[in-house]
């Protein structure tokens, strides 16, 4: 391992990494293990197809369709599978509902498990040490880092994603949105509100 982690101090860490990544892709391509065009397609899918807009549609649907909400809380993967317009979802997606009594937030203390299909690739902070270390011990302190305050009489429930189950928070519907369409409501649903480190936008607030 030592020779692999040798650092050439004539180069910056970034350029060394960049070079090594390029070499590895060359080797894998020459050996016939990967097809660069397939790698391009994977990257393009993560950049364009998957993202929090998928989760936002699910949340907005749950806010407007009580039967769907019941099904979603019962079996997230199955319920989302019935929505043709949302990207495909893997098994064991568990949807957890925020209520005035309980605020949910999701973490992966061991690595970076996250509902990719619903939210896209996780942000850097979700994968970094400050969040992973503190979310389970001091969740209100972590929420304060996001400028979020949850009433002291509300239970904070932290879900540590330690297996191949994935968790999506169903935030509370903002007040003042009576009669709004699913499309309008989806605009209020933020990524962080589905992780549990934020709330949906309020009607009329700048986006």
């Amino acid at each position: 391992m030592s020779d692999l982690h040798h650092h050439d101090h004539d180069h910056s860490e970034l350029s060394e990494t960049e070079l090594r990544v390029r070499v590895l892709e060359t080797i894998l391509t020459e050996k016939g293990y990967v097809e660069p065009a397939a790698l391009d397609a994977i990257i393009q899918a993560y950049e364009t197809k998957i993202g929090p807009h998928n989760g936002a549609r699910v949340v907005a649907k749950a806010w407007t369709d009580p039967a769907f909400k019941t099904a979603l809380l019962e079996d997230g993967s199955k319920a989302i599978g019935t929505l043709g317009h949302v990207s495909r979802v893997g098994d064991h997606l568990v949807v957890i509902e925020n209520t005035p009594q309980r605020h949910n937030m999701v973490v992966c203390t061991l690595c970076s498990c996250y509902p990719w299909e619903m939210l896209g690739l996780p942000p850097v902070w979700y994968k970094a040490a400050p969040y992973r270390s503190r979310a389970v011990k001091d969740p209100r302190g972590v929420l304060a880092d996001f400028g979020v305050t949850v009433p002291t009489d509300t239970e904070i429930r932290v879900w540590d994603s330690t297996a191949e189950t994935r968790f999506l928070v169903l935030p509370m519907r903002p007040e003042g949105t009576e009669g709004w369409s699913e499309e309008q409501l989806a605009e209020l649903v933020t990524r962080d509100s589905m992780i549990g480190t934020g709330f949906p936008k309020k009607p009329g607030a700048p986006s």
Binding site: R20, L28, Y33, L39, V94, R132, K137, D160
Partner: protein, 219 residues
């Protein structure tokens, strides 16, 4: 393994710093690393648990000082070397100079990319009845394997309550070591914040993990 990756409850890492309007990738190479990991995994070069184990076994100072995708890259390269898909001679030459090794599922083509965008299936038929039912009190075992495990240190020895039963799943502790899938019952187990952290815990907090049956004893 009791590595630095098992971060739950550690102090001193500072504030969480969200980045407004964060891009999907911060550099082109990050995207290439992600795509190579996905493509080689789909080709059957390794399973997800093995790939996690290789990141965990990076030396602690490397793990803590590397960015997320640097860890992915270092883990990938180590794993492909260890499994004989690439050789040190290839890396030194910057080209493939050693022969290739067959891939279990074959090279991932452009037409197969769509299926890699959905997570794999980890549920398996049960080999025995579940030992625990919802509402049971269980104690997380005080185990410290030097190999891969998904039982975080901060719950070991503590008592929680079974809240959900997810069925039988591939057991990461076995799969990571390539000892077979060894399916086990998987439960969501919830702990009181004060039970985990004592007086330093938040009395209004509850923390759950997803625990495989071999991680638990009746309490």
């Amino acid at each position: 393994m009791n590595g630095v990756h098992d971060m739950g409850g550690m102090d001193g890492f500072g504030k969480v710093e969200p980045e407004p309007n964060e891009p999907t990738f911060h550099a082109g190479w990050e995207a290439r690393v992600l795509a190579m990991v996905r493509a080689m995994g789909a080709a059957g070069a390794f399973n997800i648990d093995t790939s996690r184990f290789y990141r965990e076994t990076l030396p602690p100072h490397v793990y803590l000082s590397s960015s997320y995708y640097q860890k992915w890259f270092l883990g990938l390269e180590e794993m492909l070397l260890a499994k004989g898909y690439i050789a040190k001679e290839d890396v030194a030459a910057g080209h493939a100079v050693q022969p290739a090794k067959p891939l279990k599922h074959g090279k991932l083509g452009v037409g197969d990319v769509e299926r890699t965008m959905v997570r794999g299936k980890f549920a398996r038929p049960a080999l025995a009845p579940a030992k625990f039912k919802i509402g049971d009190r269980v104690r997380a075992r005080n185990i410290h394997p030097a190999t891969h495990t998904r039982l975080p240190r901060y719950v070991r020895g503590h008592v929680g309550v079974v809240e959900l039963n997810h069925g039988c799943h591939v057991f990461p502790d076995s799969a990571a070591m390539e000892l077979g899938e060894n399916p086990q019952w998987l439960y969501t187990v919830v702990f009181e914040g004060r039970d985990l952290w004592g007086a330093d815990g938040d009395p209004t907090s509850k923390i759950s993990i997803d625990a495989f049956e071999p991680y638990l004893d009746p309490a």
